[in-house]
């Protein structure tokens, strides 16, 4: 058992799940409330705000990786944090990467809820927060989808993890960076093993989501 836990493939997989899971959780903390807020309220510039988040959906990970490297580099603006190279830097990078995904999908989910529910809740004496919770409950399916899609995006990305993590053995190696490195090293078979694990994670989660969504509806 101990040997299995020490196995590099197992450790890399756990590290990947951990980094991307934490990044998704972290991002949800700010993205969910923001998405619900934008979805529920109508205010001038709402379409513009939605447009921005939609545009950011496609941000190339190499671009984000380079920007973050320049920030976290010791001579960069956030150099004092000593975050390059570290798993924390990857977590922050991936959290930023998935922020527009959670926000955009949450907005769509919330907007698809019948506006009468908010009104009804309010006429029944609910406060603003309580009304939001009512809407959140109605749009649960879409919100779960937003989070899962974000996690999948995070665990499958390479650019940020490589740029601010550096693919260091036993420290910042995650599935995608290890696959890239091992293939470069000529260890294609090892790369294939890791690829199967990565695909298994992504597919399992997607299937689970579909199942969950049906249950919720």
């Amino acid at each position: 058992m101990w040997e299995f836990l020490q196995n590099p493939i197992f450790q890399i997989t756990i590290r990947s799940l951990h980094i991307s899971g934490t990044a998704t959780l972290l991002s949800s903390l700010w993205s969910l409330p923001l998405g619900i807020l934008i979805g529920m309220k109508s205010f001038p510039g709402k379409q513009f705000a939605k447009g921005i988040f939609n545009a950011l959906l496609g941000i190339p990970t190499v671009a984000l990786g380079l920007i973050l490297y320049l920030l976290f580099s010791r001579t960069g603006a956030l150099g004092f944090l000593h975050f390059f190279p570290s798993p924390q830097a990857i977590i922050i990078g991936q959290a930023i990467l998935v922020t527009p995904i959670i926000i955009s999908l949450t907005i769509s989910a919330v907007e698809s809820v019948d506006p009468e529910i908010t009104d009804l809740a309010k006429t029944l004496g609910a406060s603003g927060v309580e009304a939001s919770l009512a809407v959140l409950r109605e749009s649960m399916g879409g919100v779960v989808l937003a989070i899962i899609a974000s996690f999948n995006r995070a665990i499958a990305e390479l650019g940020v993890a490589l740029a601010v993590g550096g693919n260091i053995r036993g420290f910042t190696q995650v599935l995608t960076t290890t696959i890239a490195l091992e293939v470069n090293r000529g260890q294609i078979e090892y790369g294939i093993h890791l690829m199967i694990i990565l695909l298994a994670i992504v597919f399992t989660i997607t299937i689970l989501t579909n199942f969950l969504q049906r249950r919720i509806k």
Binding site: L17, G21, H82, I168, V183
Partner: protein
């Protein structure tokens, strides 16, 4: 309705547990001293550094973190203070790195030879020619659409070597790159070899990466030109200059450098790969230079990789003369 919230909460708890359990994993041993080393890909991709890391970490309580990049980016990392030490193979860049005040205590640790590899059919007839003569043949055949050349094109040590070889053969690399037979891979050595193999093209490679790919059956390119002073490849270690960046782990870098040039470190370099490839991928340089064992070879190294007659000019030795005795 209730059900969905319960499922939601369970999912959240699951993710949180996975996160916490994972943290325990990689934070592990606690705050051990860290040493970040940016290194050229050839030393890392052959797994030589994995072997050295294991031996070093068994002896010292320092965690070595290797970041495998090209020589160009390795130097950039050190200039920005992101690496405590670099392992590189481009003497011309190393000199300006020292002169600009970013690095100190440069030490030559190993050498080997680059090789020009190409398809077995060898359309440009370069086998066993001198490197410059071989390149001239490749250009001629290339222009007649009989051969292709794949370049790293990534400002790595190997790419810098390639450019100097073109210059030595009397060609201007910036003109060659616009020609159809000259392909720039913009990738590491392994990828470049695979591209060259698929295109039946010639390329310049370090011996270590080539042998690994060749013996594993990933490529079928033959090593056609493997000898000559122009193909010499010299690897050096340079510590970051702590007066430039206060956060640098300078003592760790010196400790690691001393391990690399110790009998043990040099022996690892000398024997690495012998069991698998039947020959060494790298040759240790410290005793060779110290005892002048092979005058021709030593002279080649001095011509190529010494600065004003010094392995490291005294003004850059940063009070560590013991490295050079």
């Amino acid at each position: 309705m209730r059900k969905s919230i319960i499922i939601w909460i369970i999912a959240l708890i699951l993710v949180a547990v996975v996160s916490v359990a994972g943290t325990a994993y990689y934070v592990g041993d606690g705050p051990k001293e860290k040493l970040v080393v940016s290194t050229t890909t050839s030393l890392y991709d052959t797994e030589l550094l994995d072997t050295i890391e294991d031996e070093f970490e068994a002896k010292y309580s320092i965690d070595v973190y290797f970041i495998s990049v090209g020589t160009g980016l390795a130097i950039e990392h050190a200039e920005r203070g992101d690496a405590d030490m670099i392992l590189v193979h481009a003497p011309s860049k190393e000199l300006s790195f020292l002169e600009d005040g970013y690095g100190v205590c440069r030490k030559i640790i190993a050498y080997n030879f680059f090789a020009i590899v190409g398809p077995e059919a060898d359309p440009a007839n370069i086998e066993d020619l001198s490197p410059t003569h071989a390149l001239a043949n490749i250009v001629e055949t290339g222009i007649n659409e009989g051969a292709k050349w794949v370049s790293r094109g990534d400002d790595s040590g190997t790419h810098i070597k390639e450019k100097s070889l073109w210059a030595a053969a009397g060609f201007n690399w910036t003109i060659l790159r616009n020609e159809g037979w000259y392909v720039e891979a913009g990738a590491g050595m392994g990828k470049t070899l695979q591209v060259a193999d698929n295109l039946d093209a010639y390329t310049l490679t370090d011996m270590g990466t080539y042998l690994k790919y060749y013996n594993d059956g990933i490529i079928s390119l033959e090593a056609l030109v493997t000898e000559g002073e122009e193909l010499l490849n010299v690897y050096s270690a340079i510590a970051g200059n702590q007066t430039g960046h206060s956060g640098i782990n300078f003592n760790g870098a010196i400790t690691f450098m001393k391990f690399l040039i110790s009998e043990k470190g040099q022996e690892i370099i000398a024997t690495f790969g012998k069991d698998v490839y039947g020959q060494s991928l790298f040759y240790p340089a410290v005793n060779l230079l110290k005892h002048d064992k092979n005058p021709t070879l030593v002279q080649w190294i001095k011509n190529y990789a010494f600065f004003n007659g010094y392995e490291c000019p005294p003004e850059y030795q940063d009070n560590h003369p013991e490295l050079y005795t």
